[in-house]
Point group: C2
Chain length 337, copies 2
């Protein structure tokens, strides 16, 4: 559509440390965006919502002036870090937004803007973004893991976010990997999140140091010891750092194998900060996956790369949109509704 009357949607990414608003047209072109440098976590929730609504209004005005009043706003989609009740729009629980539990985010925003919005979990919108414009382009189904401070997950089935019957689906970070593994905040132990999050990588590095193993990690100050530094050490050949990413890969392999055996989706996408360490954990991930999932083994080549024994190949790959997947996915929500 090359005209002055482009239809567009507004996408909002509301995380613990960022608030971003963008206008995106139906072809996926970014028309304008605003990144608010705000520490959401440390502020009053009503203040944050007010700021979010101001930013949305400002983007809308900007759009209608640049489109000379001719562009149709398709709707507003919001991705938020936390568990969203799909019926009520309540944010049930959010580790990244303390003080927001049970907050009626959707209602509060709708009242201020005077229009309906679609609220969705951030990993779900990231999955939708990757399907639309990223690793899943052209497909209709995928499973996404966001490996960040925690591990989030999102499922898209037949082109739509799968929310489950009350919006709690896709909690892939709490799939069990090792029943008697490290305790998890969710009340279980040995969840994927305890192996494949940035927090877990840092914890495992601390455990390696505490064990007295000879490792380049010992050369880092406490402030330097994070998942990225452990990755650097692994890539420079440090055996202990490599062992840590082996565990990351094995845990992901066990969890993804379960997902492949259960849902038989064509694509599994890994995003979030830890996905940047792909080279360090991918070999053990694929080893484990081939061993644990006969469905995967039956639908892929021996090297996990390409042509399968069957016509089809089950793929596991990195996200392509980086940190913007959620922003695009949020904008996609009203287009699909």
């Amino acid at each position: 559509m090359v005209s002055g009357k482009k239809s567009y949607a507004i996408g909002v990414d509301l995380g613990g440390t960022n608030l971003r608003v963008a206008a995106v047209d139906e072809s996926g072109e970014l028309l304008t965006r605003t990144d608010l440098p705000t520490d959401v976590r440390g502020r009053d929730r009503i203040e944050v919502v007010a700021e979010l609504c101001d930013a949305v209004r400002s983007v809308t005005e900007q759009m209608s002036s640049s489109l000379k009043g001719g562009g149709a706003l398709l709707g507003i989609g919001i991705g938020v870090a936390g568990l969203v009740d799909s019926e009520t729009g309540l944010l049930l629980e959010s580790p990244n937004l303390p003080g927001w539990n049970e907050f009626d985010v959707k209602g509060e925003i709708e009242q201020r803007l005077g229009t309906q919005v679609i609220l969705e979990n951030d990993a779900n919108v990231a999955a939708l973004g990757e399907l639309w414009l990223g690793a899943g382009r052209g497909g209709s189904d995928l499973c996404m893991y966001t490996l960040g401070t925690g591990v989030g997950g999102g499922l898209v089935l037949d082109g739509k976010v799968w929310r489950g019957w009350n919006g709690m689906a896709g909690e892939l970070g709490h799939c069990n990997v090792e029943p008697e593994g490290p305790p998890c905040n969710c009340g279980s132990s040995g969840c994927l999140e305890q192996y494949a999050s940035a927090t877990a990588v840092t914890r495992m590095a601390g455990e390696a140091l505490a064990s007295g193993a000879a490792t380049a990690l010992a050369g880092l100050t406490e402030g330097e010891l994070d998942a990225r530094a452990v990755y650097q050490c692994a890539m420079e050949g440090d055996a202990e750092a490599r062992k840590i990413f082996d565990r990351v890969g094995r845990a992901l392999g066990v969890a993804i194998a379960d997902m492949v055996n259960t849902m038989n989706l064509p694509l599994h996408v890994l995003g979030g900060g830890v996905a940047a360490s792909w080279e360090a954990f991918a070999p053990s991930l694929f080893d484990e996956l081939r061993r644990r999932s006969f469905v995967f083994a039956g639908t892929t080549a021996e090297d996990g790369s390409g042509v399968g024994a069957r016509r089809h190949t089950t793929r596991v790959c990195r996200a392509l949109l980086g940190g913007d997947g959620g922003l695009y996915g949020a904008a996609r929500l009203p287009m699909r509704a």
Copy 2:
């Protein structure tokens, strides 16, 4: 519809040890059925298919004579024990039907009958049957575990069997419960099937005996030592037999927790022979499930029974149709197509 012109479908249940054919109307009423006392496993596959087609023809003739030529046949659905390629209708792999691997079951039957049939994995049709007329009546989504010689699984989402992108979805028996657990035929180790199948219960009983533990199981002859006998001993208070069903329950709890966290379905149904031991394994199943799944814990009462903290309750229960779920589900296939 109370008329002489009832529409009906034919359902076929083709397992390793049984071949059953039924005519079922759209309200779920069984109009006629034939159970062929045949050992499918030990016979030539072409012979079995010929016999199946004869039985289907005989049921069709019976129906058209009793309905005086007025009943419309809606179609023929077949549930078969094994992995079905949904695109080609090939039976890819079937542990229960040795010699049937890569056999074009659908094509062979269609050629003989001169009409299309719908072929589907047996656990998938059992799930569909339970949704239609059993534990899931009135709902649209469920997850079913069939605890038999092996552990099968079936998913129904939005009223339809979820086959995945190439028909291999629902392999719930191969979800990982214990990464370093007993080796599984699928190539992995510690799969649910290694804990919750009749084969696994018998194996664990053998292990208990070999360990020299004091147990009533020692009073059984080798021929008597099966899952049912272990259940009897457990219900009579034998500590070792109880431990075995504790493990069954814990494994099911771990696996179902993953499913609840991932798919957030309202209902999980346990069928197959081992489900008859519900009283022996349910307590540890629910203990584990509450601990492992905050989604479950957040959508159920403390005793796992009824009114939840939220409006909804995630349910786990026994199948209601017993061995007939697959027969009804198979008949349902053409009604949904």
